[in-house]
Symmetry: C2
Subunit: 484 residues, 2 copies
C-alpha cells in the first residue's frame, strides 16, 4: 500500500475495516482529520474537514425546511429542573443523562439541555393564541448535552453533539401526523441526496419510543459491521407536552382547544454513519457533495518540462474551480505519498498530470471509490468531472442500498431469527410489539433490539400471525438487530 511508503509519518490506517471495525473507525476519523477527542471525557472536536460535511448538510436542509414554512429561532442552553417534571415520561426518560449547572442555583437546579421540548413549549404557550397562529413551525440548530456513561465514539456517542431540532404545533392530530411524516421524508431525501445514505423508514415500538412521544418514526441505516444506526427521528407528541405546558388556542369555532405538537431531529451522528458506511481500508471515502475538496490536482514533476507541466496543472486546477479543488505541488513528498494521503482523507477524485498528459493535453482522473482511472481531455473537463462525481455518489448509494437490502432478512421462525442475527444481519419477524417480549429478546441475544416497524412492510395486513418469540398474536412486522 502506498500509505506505507513513509512509515515515519504514520500515514494510513493500520488495520483493516473487517478485522477490527471499531479501531478502524477511530483511526479513519482521526487520521482523515474529521474529529478528535476533547480533553473533557466524552466530548469531541470537529475539525474543519468534518465540520464541512455538517455545514453543507445544514445549509441544504435549512434551505429545504424553510421552503416548507419552518422558521429558525434560538432557545436557551439552560432549562429549569421543574420544566422536565411537567412532562413525567419525558423527565424519566432523560433523567439519567442530564448534566447540571453547579453554581448560582436560584432556587432550583438548572439542566444543560439534552433536548428542548420543554423550554420551547413554554414559549409556545405565549406565542399561540388563535388558530391563525397555527401551524407553527420552529427549528433550532444548536448543541445538546447527554451525559453518556458508555465509551465515547467520535460522532456516534459523545456527551455534546450538534443537531437541529424542529418543533411544530398543529390544530389537529391529522395535520400533525402528516407533517411528522413529511419531515421524515425530508430526512430520507437529504440523506440520499447528500450523504448517499439509504435507510429503512419505520415506527419505533413503545419500548424504543422518544420519552413523551405518542409515536416515534425513525430512519434506520445498516452499517457494514452488522449494526443498525438510527439516523434521525420524527415524533408525534400528541397533546402531552401541550397540556403539560398549558398551550391552547381559540379555534374558528371561538372555543378553546389543545393543539398537537411534533419534534424531529438529525445530528452530527450522521457524520459517523457516512464514515462507517462508505470508507475502506485506505481511509475515508466521502460522497462528493459533502467533500470539502471534491478534486485534488497533483502534477507529477520531473526535471524535464517542469515549468510547463506546473503551468498546465494550474490551468487544470483553475478550470476545476467549481469543485473546490486542492492543488498539491509539494516537492518534498512523492506522488505515491500524496495519493495515499488524499485517499486517506477521502477526496473523491484525483487528477494526475504527468509529462505524457501534458503532451496529449489530457489528465488522468482516478476515482476514490473504485480506483478506476480514466483519461479526460482538457477541453472535456467541464463536461466530464460533474458526471464522474455524480457517478461516485450514485455508486456509493447503490452499493449501500444493495447491502441494506441483502442484509435485511425475513425470519421464518424463531430459529431462523437467531440465525440471521448471528450472521450480523437485520431480522424481520411478526412481533407482539410488547416491551416485555422485547426485553426478553434483548437478554437472550445479548443486545438485539427492535429497530423499527418498517412502514413499507406494514402497509400489508398481518393476518393470523403469531409473535415468533412469545407466541402471542403478532401486531406488526418488526425489524430487529444490534445497533449503535
Amino acid at each position: 500500500m502506498a500509505a506505507k511508503q513513509d512509515p515515519k509519518e504514520n500515514l494510513g490506517i493500520s488495520i483493516k475495516k473487517n478485522d477490527d471495525p471499531a479501531e478502524w473507525y477511530g483511526q479513519v476519523c482521526l487520521k482523515a482529520e474529521l474529529a478528535e477527542y476533547a480533553p473533557v471525557k466524552g466530548c469531541m472536536i470537529i475539525r474543519p474537514r468534518g465540520y464541512f460535511i455538517w455545514e453543507t448538510l445544514q445549509h441544504e436542509f435549512d434551505r429545504r425546511i424553510k421552503k416548507l414554512g419552518v422558521q429558525n429561532a434560538s432557545f436557551p442552553l439552560f432549562i429549569p429542573e421543574s420544566f422536565f417534571e411537567k412532562e413525567k415520561s419525558h423527565a424519566q426518560g432523560f433523567a439519567p443523562e442530564v448534566a447540571w449547572i453547579a453554581n448560582k442555583y436560584e432556587g432550583e437546579r438548572i439542566a444543560v439541555r439534552p433536548t428542548s421540548e420543554t423550554i420551547i413549549c413554554d414559549s409556545f404557550k405565549r406565542w399561540i393564541r388563535s388558530h391563525r397562529d397555527l401551524p407553527l413551525r420552529i427549528n433550532q440548530w444548536c448543541n445538546v448535552v447527554r451525559w453518556e456513561t458508555e465509551a465515547t465514539k467520535l460522532f456516534l456517542r459523545t456527551r455534546e453533539f450538534l443537531w437541529q431540532e424542529g418543533h411544530c404545533v398543529y390544530a389537529t392530530s391529522e395535520e400533525c401526523e402528516k407533517e411528522v411524516l413529511l419531515f421524515l421524508n425530508e430526512y430520507e431525501k437529504i440523506l440520499k441526496d447528500l450523504l448517499a445514505l439509504p435507510v429503512i423508514k419505520g415506527l419505533k415500538t413503545e419500548k424504543e419510543r422518544f420519552a413523551g412521544a405518542l409515536r416515534t418514526y425513525t430512519l434506520e441505516a445498516y452499517m457494514p459491521d452488522g449494526k443498525a444506526l438510527q439516523c434521525g427521528t420524527s415524533h408525534h407528541l400528541g397533546q402531552g407536552f401541550m397540556k403539560s405546558f398549558e398551550v391552547s388556542f381559540i379555534g374558528e369555532d371561538e372555543k378553546k382547544h389543545v393543539p398537537y405538537s411534533s419534534s424531529w431531529g438529525i445530528s452530527t451522528r450522521l457524520l459517523g454513519a457516512v464514515v462507517l458506511l462508505h470508507s475502506d481500508d485506505k481511509g475515508l471515502v466521502l460522497p462528493p457533495f459533502v467533500a470539502q475538496n471534491q478534486v485534488v490536482v497533483i502534477p507529477i514533476i520531473f526535471e524535464k518540462n517542469k515549468n510547463e507541466i506546473q503551468d498546465y496543472a494550474k490551468k487544470v486546477w483553475c478550470k476545476l474551480d467549481w469543485y473546490r479543488p486542492l492543488y498539491d505541488d509539494r516537492e518534498d513528498h512523492s506522488a505515491g505519498y500524496k495519493y495515499a494521503e488524499w485517499e486517506l482523507k477521502g477526496i473523491p477524485l484525483r487528477v494526475e498530470i504527468g509529462p505524457k498528459d501534458f503532451e496529449k493535453n489530457q489528465v488522468v482522473v482516478v476515482r476514490r471509490d473504485t480506483g478506476e482511472k480514466e483519461f479526460v481531455l482538457f477541453d472535456q473537463l467541464e463536461q466530464r468531472i460533474p458526471i464522474i462525481l455524480q457517478n461516485i455518489h450514485d455508486n456509493l448509494y447503490e452499493k449501500a442500498k444493495k447491502n441494506l437490502e441483502k442484509s435485511t432478512l425475513t425470519a421464518e421462525s424463531w430459529e431462523s431469527f437467531t440465525t440471521i442475527i448471528a450472521e450480523g444481519k437485520l431480522a424481520k419477524m411478526p412481533h407482539c410489539t410488547e416491551s416485555k417480549c422485547e426485553e426478553e429478546i434483548k437478554d437472550k441475544t445479548k443486545g438485539v433490539s427492535a429497530r423499527c416497524i418498517p412502514l413499507e412492510e406494514n402497509s400489508k395486513i398481518l393476518k393470523n400471525k403469531k409473535c415468533f418469540h412469545c407466541k402471542k398474536d403478532a401486531q406488526a412486522t418488526v425489524i430487529f438487530g444490534r445497533s449503535y
Copy 2:
C-alpha cells in the same frame, strides 16, 4: 398614533425613546417579537424575527471570511478548569463569570465556555507542526456563557449569547497584526453593509484589554441614549497563549519557533445595537437587508371592487417575491391597525393598495424610516423598490454616522471634558493611558471609561501634550464615554 386604535391588543410602545430609553428598548425587543426573557434568569429566547437578523449576518460574514481562508470547526462547550489556569491573566479575567458543571467532575471542575482560546490552543498544539501549517485560520459559530450578575438586557447583557470566534495562528507578529486589523476591517464593513451601523475603530487601553491579549482592537458605536456600545473586538494575543499551550512550529530554517495568535468575535449583542440605534417611538426600524420581510403588502378593501383589488394586490405581492414580502389581507383588523403593527415590527416598506391605486395601476409605497409616501406604477415596481430599500439603508447609516460624528467631541481641558460627558457625549482627550488614571476618572464621573484610542486620530503624532486628568505626559488621544 395608529397604535392606539385598538387598546385591548396592547399594540405599540407605551413610552417614548427619549423619555425612558431602557423601558422603551425592552418594549421594542418584546413587542417587535425579536426576543423574550427565558425562564432561567439572565438568558434569552431569540424569536424568528430576531434570529433572522443573526442568520443573515452569519451567512454573509461566513461567506466573506471563507474567502479570506478561514475554515469553520466546532470545539466543546466544556473546558477543564486547568486550561484556564495555564494563561494566568486570562483565568483572572474570566474567573468571576464562569458557570461550572455540577455532576461527574472527573477529577477537576468543568467550565461552560465563556470563550474558547484555551481549548482551541490545546488543539493547535496537535495541528501545527511546520511553517507549512501556517497561517491557520479557524472559526466557530456557537453559544458562550458568562454568568453576569448585573441586570439582564435582551441581546446586550445576557448570560448566554451566540457569537462567532475566529482563532488564527501566524509565524510572525507582523502577519498576525496585519490580519487582526484585516478582520477588524471586515467587521466594520459588514456592520455598515448589513446593519447600517457606523463605528469608531480603535485600540483598547491596557485596562480595557481582553484578558490575555497583547493588543485589543475594538469597534465602538454610539447609541442615541448617549452610551457607547462595543460591537466587536479583534485581539493580537502575542505569544502568550501559544507558550502556555506549548504550540510551536518548525520554520523554514528548520528550527523550532513559537507562533503568534489572534482571536476576534462578534455576537448577538449586535442585534441590540440595531434596535437602539435605528428604532423610534413607533417601534422597530430595521435596515432592509436584515429584515425578515422587506415589504408588507396591504390591500385596503371596501365592498366595491373587493375581488379585483385583492387580485391586483396579490399580483403586486407576487411581483415583489424577491423582497420577502408579507401579504396582510386580514379582514378583522383595520388598515390603520395593520400599519401600526408592521411599523412596530419594523418592516422597511409598506405597500398600500386602495381602490384608486387599483384603477390607476399603481401602489402607494410608505417608508418605515421617514414615513415618506410615494406612488409607484405597477410596471415600475421592480426598478423602484430596490432603490427605495437602498435609500432606506443609506439614510439609516448616514443619520447614525452624523450623530456619531457630532457626538464625539474633542475636549480642550479637563473642565470641557466633564461638560461633554455631562451632555451624554463621547469626549476625546490626550491621556496617559494608565489604568490608575482611568480608574480615578471612572470614580469621579460615576462610570465613564476609556472606550478606545481611535486609530484615525492616532496616526497624527501627539507632541508635548499632557493628560488632561493626571497631567502626566499624554501617550495617546483617547475617547471616553459611558457604555453598555
